[in-house]
């Protein structure tokens, strides 16, 4: 029998990809965290091409990138929760998310998965989520977007 008073998580990392599912997953985690006052950390990773130095001034200059984290912070505030926004630059998004959650001792990692199809018409998982599922030391929730209706 499950104990409803035990919080599902104490520190959650929410990986944001800048897509439409970001607000949904932040709201979902915030709703679940409200009762337990769990710590929320939103992470957005900007992938840096090997042609550029890792500390190139890319993410800091982009308003779009800042907006992703600001939106997450705002959604959490609406639920009266504090969310720590973290902006990273890395060569590999999956590794950066896993390392960040390991360092912070997170017990939950939430990632959004947009419903995308390859050109052949097959659903594509990408490479970041399989990496996270394989390497993250904590629980991982993958929240998939609803399937968009096919256009006739």
């Amino acid at each position: 029998m499950s104990d409803h008073h035990v919080p599902v998580f104490r520190r959650a990392i929410i990986a944001l990809n800048g897509g439409p599912s970001d607000a949904r997953i932040v709201r979902l985690v915030a709703d679940m965290a409200r009762g337990s006052k769990a710590e929320l950390v939103a992470v957005h990773v900007v992938e840096i091409d090997w042609t550029l130095p890792l500390d190139a001034d890319i993410a800091g200059q982009s308003e779009d990138v800042q907006r992703i984290l600001d939106m997450a912070e705002q959604v959490a505030e609406e639920s009266k929760l504090i969310l720590e926004p973290v902006l990273l630059q890395a060569r590999d998004v999956g590794a950066a998310i896993v390392d960040e959650s390991t360092e912070r001792g997170a017990d939950l990692l939430v990632v959004g998965l947009p419903y995308r199809k390859r050109f052949g018409g097959e659903f594509a998982l990408g490479r970041t989520i399989p990496y996270i599922l394989q390497n993250a030391p904590c629980a991982v929730w993958v929240v998939r977007d609803p399937i968009a209706e096919e256009k006739p």
Partner: protein, 700 residues
Amino acid sequence: MIGGRRPIQGRKPGDRRVRVERPHAPYFRYTGPGQLVAKQAASLPTTPAGRAWARVQAAVFGRPLMQEEELGERLPKTKALPIFSSDAISSSAYASDEIIHVLILAGLAALTLSIQISIAIALLLTVVSISYRQVCRAYPSGGGAYAVARENISQTAGLVAAAALFIDYVMTVSVSTASAVSQAYSVVPGLYGIRVELALIAITLITIANLRGLRESGNIFAIPTYMFVGLALLMIGLGLSRIVMGTVVPIPTPPDVILPPSPTEAVTILLLLKAFAGGSVALTGVEAIANGVPAFKPPESKNAANTMSIMAVLLGVIFIGIAIVGVAFGFQPTNEGGPTAIAQVATAIFGAETPLFVLFQASTALILFLAVNTSFNAFPRLAAILAADGFMPRQFSFRGDRLAFNWGVVVLAVVAATLIVIFQGDVHLLIPLYSVGVFVCFTLSQIGMVRHWFVARGPGWRWRAIVNAIGGLLTFIVLIVVASVKFGGGAWLVVVLIPIQVSIFLFINRQYRASAAQLSIKPDFVVPEPHREERVVVPVPGLSRAVVQAINVGRSISEDIRAVFITEDPEAAEQLRERWQRQVPHVQLVVVESPYRALAGPLLAYLDVLDSAWPPDKPAPITFVVIPEYVARNWWERILYNQSSKRMKTVLLGRPQTVVVNVPYRREDPAQFESAERGYDRLHPPSGSAPPPSGQPPLD
């Protein structure tokens, strides 16, 4: 850390990552391309004194609210009723007194006519409230009579309505506060001596409550209003049951009773009209709901209209009920300081000095006090609408930290408190000024609504127009009666004040329109590159770090720069010139000797001379007057420094093609100077006295 980017090792060598600092995050939030929203931290004061003051403000008025929280501040009907109806409902506490004060002139027997007069007033209330229900639906953005009259009759008619309403709201605050205090000294006669002080304390408290915001003031005021309504209905119910059962015990003659004159007057139409006019104060405050429709929770219009109906029913029942029970139990008018009509009825029903009587008196005093709150909600909203339309200073439309219209709240409190002091808190002296304005509004809004229905022609427009037409006619008749009956008693002042206010509104509007016309840019105008030349003048009091900083700022604006030293001492001028040429060789120093010791005059004259020396075939340049200033660390330093620069700024204000630039020298700046000086010393050892390299500032 490199430029806000901190490298972090990953688990594997290739997994390094960089954490990017987000300096905007504590203060701003990006919401769109090039669009930032300021967070609360951006508005927080930075000085210790400012932070301390902010803490005091938060303790007294509450934490600042975000604009988005406005919807949360909206009122449900249960809270809107006490806020917007306490004025109307509370007037039942003194309207009966106003009727019997007149009827007593025709003898004690004439007091029974107060029932018929109360019924007539209740009928008028019915018509007016039905009409205002329609105003709520037709004008969901609020504004009541002002909005209706302005849109459907004329701008001036709207402003007349607004002016009349303003007078009424101020009067409501003064009359209700004075009346609440009078209820208090009905129970504790010793308070009579400090009635003005009590009234001022009451106004201060209600001002603070309203500055805390709408919803909170609703929380504070709901309980006393419902307590009054409940106890008044209980009192009337008990009274009616005793009348039916035949167990009426007449009220003992109260102290300070007003005896009928000898001989008594005949019951004439004029006497009845006077009594009707006196009792019509019961209708004041009815319009407040129509003014404050946007304060309701959605659907705003429907909720406001329903609240209006509930309020009208409650007021009508209590008003007629007090008259019936009062007549049956034999209430009588009393002089100032004696028990009021409602207090006499409460004594008869609940028994003198019983807990219920004391509770009822307390709730009566409280609701009279809370009636003030209706004005505190309606006045600032109306002022904000007028300010948004350009008829009042714009400050009235700005919301404060708690989303209240602070300017309106404070101005209302100050004016009402002034009236209380002038009239020494006497209700009967204040009431003649009252209720004329409200009938001006009723009439204008009804006429406006008739026109509205004829133009809009929506479903059922005919019967709606008929209701408004009847309302307009009735309220106009009452206006004539009230104005003529009360004219000599002080209502003339309202007749004088309305045109004065309207003139002020129009004057302000003219000013705003003129400035808007001067500042407007044609929609198809594309701003070209600036083509005017710039020159810089730096008035200097000597050579100091502050002056050097100002000179360097000036040099970043234009190469055409000169320092001006105005002095009465030629010797000091010579010393400065020698030093200046050595230390600031790239900037021309102009010495203006001022044997009459004036500072600002010679500076202005020098600027005029520069202007006249400019080639007439070229457009006049923009002159930047760069003024060095030492930033004072505390209040006494403010007295010691920058007096001359303040004078210069004052005289330069508004000078054509002149921009004044203040360059503050802060206490943090010496470190920069000292490092620059050390750098200069290293490059130029003391043995070499060569000037600094060309193009480089000597100190920075």
